[in-house]
């Protein structure tokens, strides 16, 4: 198993550290906007002088509270996020001036109606198809402008195109740093654990200065490359190289990602909304800023899009580049779009790419820990 860096910070530690940092910033009058999804163009939030904070909950703890108003048979991420909002136990929700939601999946968009009763929730209407392209881009562009106007109204400010363009440049730089770090997964033999990659990318949201984030990724990239050059290069590994795809997996990181690596696999690639696929495409830095943002964000390959051919093209390309031996798809309970699309993913991965596939439907509980470990164990035995 690849070792974690000495100064490794777990997700929970980073989240905790973030509370205090955010409180200090709030006390100084910092604007904070809560978001739930990688489709939200955070460039606008930065341009408004605000900090975007992710509110997707990874913890099982607030789920019973969420279930007092939401159905049990719903995605754990939605139940947990709402549960946090309802119980005021999430400082990030508490510190958010405004929440920006989006109509990605049905569960979330209806939950936002309830969340709006707790804190003002502005919901962007995301087209669920990229076709015809012109219409989809135009529709998303007008929603992006609506968000800009909302932020202007809310904070009584004017957001200039220059400010947006500057935010675009900054975010692009961050994307490059993220991407370069995540591309370390291409190294053969691997030199860092996928558990670390997932934790570091998710936990980076708790570092609020974008330049600090960039520095932290660049630093770790240099460290890992040095380690690979001096200690790993030229060695062979018989541990299968695993790609994890599907739903956001922060809430099952220990149950799933850690277990894969403990049982003898190396996660080299995490193809989820928090992973490399959202970093690869940059925003055009010239031309109309709103069109540039709309073009980039509409191409995110979440399963809410129908049809969703770009997800498969991207996946195939990444699987080749990262030399993937096996694919594990994580489906959060009741995530219909990923769950239905899983059939096509399995077909694509096994038939087009000739790579074994394992699909796992799970939630944030520990109830199926043993069963998950058996499935993962058998899958890894099958690959070796």
């Amino acid at each position: 198993m690849q070792k974690l860096p000495d100064n490794f910070e777990t997700y929970d530690e980073a989240r905790q550290r973030g509370f205090l940092a955010l409180k200090e910033l709030k006390d100084k009058g910092q604007r904070v906007v809560g978001i739930f999804c990688s489709y939200v163009p955070t460039e606008l939030i930065y341009a408004a002088g605000a900090i975007p904070v992710g509110l997707c909950a990874n913890s099982e703890e607030p789920i019973p509270a969420g279930e007092t108003r939401l159905p049990r048979n719903l995605c754990p991420l939605i139940k947990a996020s709402y549960g946090f909002a309802l119980t005021e136990k999430c400082p990030y929700f508490y510190f958010s001036d405004l929440v920006v939601g989006e109509t990605t999946c049905d569960g979330k968009k209806k939950m936002f109606e309830l969340m709006n009763e707790i804190k003002e929730t502005f919901v962007m209407s995301l087209p669920n198809s990229r076709e015809p392209r012109e219409a989809a881009v135009a529709a998303w562009r007008s929603e992006i402008i609506r968000l800009k106007e909302k932020l202007e109204d809310f904070y009584h400010i004017t957001i200039t195109e220059d400010q947006i363009r500057e935010a675009i440049r900054l975010k692009n730089r961050e994307r490059v740093a993220f991407q370069t770090y995540l591309e370390l997964g291409k190294l053969d033999p691997p030199a860092l654990s996928g558990y670390e990659m997932g934790t570091k990318t998710d936990a980076s949201a708790f570092t609020f200065d974008i330049n600090d984030r960039i520095r932290s990724f660049e630093e770790r990239t240099r460290e890992v490359l040095h380690y690979w050059e001096t200690e790993r290069k030229g060695k062979t590994s018989d541990r299968p190289r695993i790609m994890v795809t599907g739903c956001p997996n922060g809430g099952v990181r220990d149950k799933l990602l850690k277990t894969i690596e403990e049982l003898g696999g190396d996660i080299v690639l995490i193809d989820t909304c928090g992973g490399i696929r959202t970093q690869m495409q940059k925003v055009e830095e010239t031309g109309d800023v709103y069109t540039a943002l709309a073009e980039k964000y509409i191409d995110i390959t979440c399963s809410v899009m129908s049809p969703n051919a770009p997800r498969f093209e991207m996946m195939g390309k990444l699987m080749d580049e990262f030399q993937v031996d096996g694919v594990v798809e994580v489906i959060l309970q009741a995530c219909h779009t990923f769950n239905v699309e899983a059939y096509n993913v399995k077909r694509y991965v096994t038939e087009q790419k000739g790579v074994p596939y394992l699909g796992l439907e799970t939630d944030y509980s520990q109830a199926d820990k043993g069963q998950i470990a058996t499935r993962l164990g058998a899958f890894l035995e099958m690959l070796s």
Partner: protein, 274 residues
């Protein structure tokens, strides 16, 4: 003499298979797992010792077997030389039990898990397991048999004589209420039993259809000796499903085969060192 022992501790029964140096199966037996898989493992070690198979060095005897454990209780077998999941073991064991084919689909209906495993050229190439729910597993039959006050074998005898009435609930707890209301309506035990078994066969067949199936399909696990159940599956899949009186030992045999391979690898390594 060196032995290779496979121990498959399932939720209901623990199955043991022993191979000799030539790979021939020289013994197999089954005991109920009971409440603790750790106790079962200890008991198995004693039973093996009575047969002259020593899983550990003692004052009087030298260890003379390699042990591979599998099944949900595989971690409870502290004296095992290796632990392997039941999916890999069932695939290997089925290869030994049923004549070798290029591709075979293995259906294993266990006490708490049901698996469908596609084995191609001797290797697992795909598998599915039921989700965290007892529908389509042995547990479902066990609960309903208890309700009808019969054991599992009698349950199948009743089922053969009946006309299946639909059991639509997939959840074991709700299905039990459904059975209770049928009992209250005065429906015959035969018809209810028949409905219960049909519901399990349907659920298992649906799982099978989610996967590419080989031309040859075999049934392993606790229900493997049951020709009636195999026939129901054949009917739903439109393809013959083979069963075997030895099928419940597939996991243990696969584990024993893995132990033998482990032994061969170790002696190769020893030879290399020398």
């Amino acid at each position: 003499m060196m032995y290779y022992t496979g121990i498959d501790i399932g939720s209901t029964a623990a199955k043991i298979a022993v191979l000799d140096e030539t790979g021939a199966a020289i013994d197999r037996f089954v005991i109920p797992t009971g409440w603790s898989s750790r106790m079962a493992a200890k008991h198995i070690a004693e039973l093996l010792e009575n047969k002259g198979i020593y899983v550990q060095d003692t004052e009087e005897h030298e260890k003379n077997t390699l042990v591979v454990s599998t099944g949900y209780g595989r971690e409870a077998v502290e004296f095992a030389d290796k632990q392997v999941t039941e999916i890999t073991c069932h695939a290997k064991g089925a290869q030994l039990l049923f004549q070798k084919e290029k591709a075979v689909s293995v259906i294993d209906v266990g006490g708490q898990d049901t698996k469908v495993i596609l084995v191609e050229n001797g290797l697992v190439s795909d598998f599915l397991m039921n989700d965290k729910c007892a529908a389509g597993t042995g547990k479902f039959i066990e609960v309903m048999a208890n309700r009808l006050n019969v054991d599992i074998e009698e349950m199948f005898e009743l089922a053969k004589a009946g006309e299946p009435i639909p059991i639509s609930a997939l959840c074991t707890v709700f299905a039990e209420s459904e059975v209770i209301s049928y009992i209250a309506e005065g429906r015959s035990r035969e018809d209810i039993a028949s409905g219960v078994i049909a519901s399990v066969a349907n659920k298992v067949a649906t799982m099978c259809k989610r996967q590419r199936l080989a031309e040859k399909i075999v049934l392993t696990g606790g229900l493997s000796s049951n020709s009636y159940f195999a026939a129901l599956l054949s009917d739903r899949l439109g393809q013959p499903v083979e069963n075997s009186s030895e099928g419940r030992y597939a996991g243990a045999l696969g584990a024993a085969m893995t132990a033998k391979k482990l032994g061969e690898r170790r002696s190769r390594q020893r030879a290399q060192v020398q």
